[in-house]
């Protein structure tokens, strides 16, 4: 599964958010997009998953265009998205949330197998499976959001600021989990404010500034780059 984005442009109410960005993600990659607020990181993810329609450029998956598809169709192409702010269904129970994550799968066995795997990864979700999702803590809700995305058995997982508002200990936990997931063959595209963490986890990184890609390099190189250090790592 190769995802490629070329010359992508997006604007909201005539204010442009993306001004022509291009990058490619190969199967099994771990890529991160970093940059300040408003640089276009979230917009990139939202456009890939179909929530936002681009005003120019294209997105292809294994050569086939997907930029004009609706989000529910893109999920079926095995692209999962953990949105910013978690967006879990607060009034539904934890297991109902997870079952909805598997909405595109009609095969009962697959679903049950997947839910078992998710519970293995996040035993706390298993403990709380009948609890109303909105009553859980922020960290647990983030786990549920990731678990829910995994239920669709994605080949590519998009994550939007999974560390936002979480205590460092939980951020660390989630980071470890993402590495493990990637090692099992899932492509990860991570958008992070916490550039430090993101560049530690990812293999390749892109720095977005005002809707354009300012830098693209191996994550380790970026972490050593003077500009990045000064602007995003606070060193």
């Amino acid at each position: 599964m190769k995802l490629s984005v070329s010359n992508l442009e997006v604007s909201y109410n005539k204010v442009s958010a993306l001004r022509g960005i291009s990058f490619e993600v190969d199967s099994g990659d771990f890529v991160t997009l970093i940059g300040s607020n408003g640089a276009g990181k979230s917009t990139t993810l939202r456009t890939i998953s179909g929530l936002v329609k681009p005003s120019g450029g294209e997105i292809t998956l294994d050569g086939a265009r997907i930029d004009n598809l609706d989000p529910d169709v893109i999920v079926q192409k095995r692209i999962g998205h953990v949105p910013e702010g978690r967006r879990i269904f607060k009034d539904l129970s934890v297991s109902e949330n997870l079952m909805l994550g598997a909405y595109i799968h009609r095969d009962r066995n697959t679903v049950e197998k997947t839910i078992k795997q998710v519970f293995e990864h996040f035993p706390r979700l298993h403990d709380r499976r009948n609890q109303q999702a909105g009553t859980m803590s922020g960290g647990e809700q983030q786990m549920l959001a990731i678990g829910r995305a995994l239920m669709s058995r994605p080949k590519i997982l998009l994550l939007d600021e999974p560390s936002l508002g979480l205590a460092p200990i939980i951020v660390k936990e989630i980071g470890e989990f993402l590495s493990e997931l990637n090692s099992q063959g899932v492509t990860v595209i991570l958008v992070e404010q916490n550039a430090d963490l993101a560049l530690q986890l990812a293999r390749f990184g892109y720095v977005l500034e005002t809707g354009l890609i300012a830098m693209a390099d191996r994550a380790a190189n970026l972490a050593d780059n003077e500009h990045v250090k000064k602007a995003y790592l606070g060193i």
């Binding site: 607020n37 960290g139 508002g165 460092p168 200990i169 939980i170």
Partner: protein, 253 residues
């Protein structure tokens, strides 16, 4: 004498204790940090001090008088002004209008004088005061821009400008550094320090440890609704309990 005293404050939601017998006090012209993991009760504490929520038990003493359970607008009149997480602003209005609304306490009017214009003097002084706050936060170039069109850094500055125009004696800042890049963080830290220099006491809720450690005179660490530790940043940083619970010293899951 402390400016603000939080005495034995508890808050129950249903059966859950969000705050459990919390005590701390804030000295005049200090920057006092309130930190702790998510769900520790920081936001609840903030709401209670600013009157957006009332405690189940305990009291809040501000300058020797109790403000426990007062309406938020009354507490604002008393001189405690809070900001909100993220960038809560009047997004549809210009920068100037935003700050002008902040001057409400010193410029309020009634319909009659608004109609016949007898409050003109007061309105003029409110405008002057708003200008002061705008200059203080370095926003004079953007005065007539619509708030929603500002870059993040300016939005955050505007958040504080609005609060400043309300003439706070105690300013509660809720995660002013969230989502900022290091450059923006540095600018914001300088501004915060400048506010304190002008004689305003600050309580700061923040996750950005660099900002917290760099700015605060004292810290109160909350965990599961209880005070886990108090002291100077240095003391807190070396407190093993804090390291364990918050900074993630061990590898416990």
């Amino acid at each position: 004498m402390s400016m603000l005293q939080v005495k034995n404050v508890s808050k129950q939601f249903g059966g859950l204790a969000a705050l459990d017998n919390v005590n701390f006090s804030v000295e005049k012209e200090h920057i006092h940090g309130l930190i702790g993991p998510n769900g520790a009760g920081k936001s609840t504490m903030f709401k209670i001090i600013s009157g957006f929520s009332s405690p189940t038990a305990g009291s809040i003493i501000f300058n020797d008088s109790s403000i426990t359970g007062l309406k938020s607008s009354r507490i604002a009149e008393a001189g405690i002004i809070r900001t909100f997480q993220q960038t809560t602003l009047f997004h549809e209005m210009t920068v100037f209008e935003n700050v002008l609304i902040g001057t409400h306490n010193s410029s309020r009017t009634n319909i009659l004088s608004a109609l016949i214009g007898s409050d003109r003097k007061r309105q003029q002084s409110a405008k002057n005061h708003a200008m002061e706050a705008i200059r203080f936060m370095g926003l004079e170039d953007r005065m007539h821009q619509i708030a929603s069109e500002l870059p993040l850094g300016s939005k955050r500055a505007l958040v504080i400008a609005v609060a400043l125009s309300a003439k706070p004696r105690l300013l509660l800042l809720d995660e002013p550094f969230a989502g900022m890049n290091p450059e923006e963080t540095n600018t914001m830290m300088a501004l915060t320090e400048k506010v304190r220099q002008s004689g305003i006491t600050i309580i700061l809720v923040e996750h950005d440890m660099k900002a917290v450690m760099g700015l605060c005179d004292r810290l109160t660490v909350l965990n599961f609704g209880k005070v886990l530790a108090q002291g100077t940043p240095k003391e807190v940083r070396n407190n093993p309990e804090v390291i364990n619970a918050y900074l993630g010293g061990g590898k416990s899951t």
